[in-house]
Amino acid sequence: MVVSSDAPRPDDMPARTVLDEQDISRALTRITHEILERNRDADGVLLLGIPTRGVDLARRIAARMSEVEGRPITPGSLDVTMYRDDLRMRPARALEHTSIPEDVDGKTVVLVDDVLFSGRTIRAALDALGDLGRPKAVQLAVLVDRGHRELPIRADFVGKNLPTSLAEKVKVRLTEADGEPDSVTIVGGAS
C-alpha cells in the first residue's frame, strides 16, 4: 500500500517482474481456498479491502469465493486514512470510500491489501475496525509480503513472500486500478 502507488521516480530504474498475471491469479485462487479452509466456509466471513488496490483484490477473492460457495459474496472496503499515524507528515489527503456491507459484530473479518510492509496501514485498519464494532476475529490476506515490519503484525494469507531491501520499491499493478495488465515488479536497489 505504502510503496505500491506513487513511488517517486522509479521509472528510470530497472524493474524486474516477480509476479505476472497468471501468478497473481493462481495466488488469489489459493488464498481464497485457504480462507475457506481456515474458516470452514464463507458464513460469517466478511472481506474488507483497503483502498485502493486492496479493494480490487477483495473483489477478486469474493468472486472466486462466490463460485466455490455457489452464492454471491459481497466484499466491502475500509478506508484507514483518518487512522494513520503519519497524517501530520504530509498535507491532508483525500479520503477513499468506506463501505461495510454488513455489521462486523461477531464476524470473521478478513482484511485484504496488496503489499504488507511496515504494518502501519494494518494497525490503522485494526483501529478503524474497532470503531465499527467487535469482530469475532480479524485475519489478514496480502498479495505480497515484503518484510521490514515495524509493528508486531503478520499476515494469515500471503500470495508471495518477497524478500526485499529497503532501497527497493515494490510496485503492484492491477487492471482495475491502473488500466494495465496485472503485475508485481521490484524497482531499484542493487541487482
Binding site: M82, Y83, R88, R90, P91, A92, L95, D131, L132
Partner: protein, 316 residues
C-alpha cells in the same frame, strides 16, 4: 487546501470545493456508526470564538471538531472580557497563548476573520463562521453539498436565492461558490434588499419571484434580518411575504425534483410558510445534518495534514 484559512467562498477554486464536498461525503457516514468519532485531530485545539449569537453554526462546529477528537473551547462574547472592552487583538493573543490550532470566528463586523488571519496575532488556522454581512463559507459549502446529494453535479443547475440578499452573508457565499461549481444562480429580492454592485456578481438578479420558480432546481429562502435593518426596506411584513414568501401555491409551481432550502433560523409565516418548511420537499433539517459533515471535512483538510506546511508564516 491551498490556504490554511477558510475566509471566503471565493478563496476556493473548483478543485478545492469538490475536495471538501467529496471528503464530507465520506464523513457523513460517521454519523451512522456506533462510535461517532475519528481519532484524526487528537490533541488539536479548536476555539469557537463567537461574538454574535448562533445556535446551529456553533453547535455544528463543536460537533464536527469533537467527532474528529479535537479539544473544543467555546468562547462567546457575552460573559467574557469582551463585554469589559477587550479588543479582538487581545482576545487573539490570549487564544494564541492557550495554543489554539484553529479559531472558528463569528463576528458582527465584516472582515474580522480576515483581520485575525492576516494579523500575525496568532498562528492557527482561521475559519470564517459568518462575518457581518460579508460571508459564511461553510454554510455555502453545506448548501452545495445538500444540493449535490439531491440534484447530482451542480454544473448547469439553476438555483434561485430569494429574500434579504443585502444583509445575507449566506447569499454572497452561495453566489460565489455555486458559480465556481458551475451552477446558474438567480437572486430574487425587492430592489431595496439587493446590495449595490450586485450586477458585478457572477449571478443574475430579478425582482419577480413568480417568474423564477419554474426553472429552479433549488429555491433557497433567506431570513429577513430585522436586527440588521436600520430603515424600512419594504412597506410591511405582509406585503413582503405576499410578494417574496414561499407558500404552497408557489412551491407547487416548482419542478417536481426541485428542493426548498433555508439556512435557518426561519421566520415561519414571513419568508416561508410552515406548510412549505415542513413539506417533504424541504431539506432544511437535512442541511443541519450535512453541516456537521461539511465542517468536519473543512477542519480535517485544514488541520489534519502536516502542521503549518503551507502557511506563509510557518511555525513562528
Amino acid at each position: 487546501m491551498k490556504s490554511s484559512h477558510l475566509l471566503s467562498a471565493a478563496d476556493l477554486d473548483r478543485d478545492d470545493a469538490l475536495r471538501i464536498l467529496d471528503t464530507a461525503e465520506e464523513l457523513l457516514s460517521v454519523a451512522q456508526r456506533p462510535i461517532k468519532k475519528l481519532p484524526t485531530l487528537r490533541g488539536r485545539t479548536v476555539v469557537n470564538l463567537f461574538f454574535e449569537d448562533s445556535t446551529r453554526t456553533r453547535i455544528s462546529f463543536e460537533a464536527a471538531a469533537k467527532r474528529l477528537s479535537a479539544d473544543v473551547i467555546n468562547f462567546s462574547a457575552k460573559g467574557s472580557s469582551v463585554s469589559k472592552g477587550e479588543s479582538l487583538k487581545d482576545t487573539a493573543l490570549t487564544l494564541q497563548a492557550m495554543g489554539a490550532d484553529a479559531v472558528v470566528i463569528r463576528h458582527s463586523a465584516s472582515g474580522a476573520p480576515h483581520r485575525l488571519a492576516t494579523s500575525r496575532w496568532m498562528s492557527g488556522s482561521v475559519v470564517n463562521a459568518g462575518d457581518g454581512t460579508h460571508e459564511h463559507p461553510t454554510q455555502a459549502l453545506l448548501d452545495a453539498f445538500t444540493m449535490r446529494r439531491h440534484l447530482g453535479d451542480l454544473e448547469g443547475k439553476s438555483i434561485t436565492i430569494v429574500g434579504d440578499v443585502l444583509h445575507s452573508r449566506v447569499a454572497r457565499s452561495n453566489a460565489l461558490l455555486l458559480h465556481t461549481l458551475g451552477a446558474e444562480v438567480t437572486l430574487v429580492a425587492p430592489p431595496t434588499l439587493l446590495p449595490v454592485g450586485v450586477e458585478t456578481w457572477p449571478v443574475a438578479h430579478a425582482y419577480d419571484l413568480d417568474a423564477n420558480l419554474e426553472k429552479a432546481d433549488a429555491v433557497m429562502m433567506l431570513r429577513v434580518q430585522r436586527e440588521r435593518m436600520n430603515a424600512s426596506y419594504f412597506p410591511s411584513a405582509r406585503e413582503y411575504s405576499r410578494r417574496f414568501g414561499l407558500d404552497t401555491a408557489r412551491m407547487n409551481r416548482m419542478p417536481e425534483h426541485a428542493i426548498v432550502m433555508h439556512p435557518g433560523p426561519m421566520n415561519r409565516g414571513m419568508e416561508i410558510t410552515a406548510d412549505v418548511a415542513d413539506s417533504p420537499r424541504s431539506v432544511i433539517v437535512e442541511q443541519v445534518t450535512n453541516g456537521v459533515a461539511v465542517r468536519m471535512a473543512v477542519l480535517y483538510l485544514l488541520l489534519g495534514g502536516a502542521a503549518d506546511a503551507d502557511s506563509p508564516e510557518g511555525n513562528a
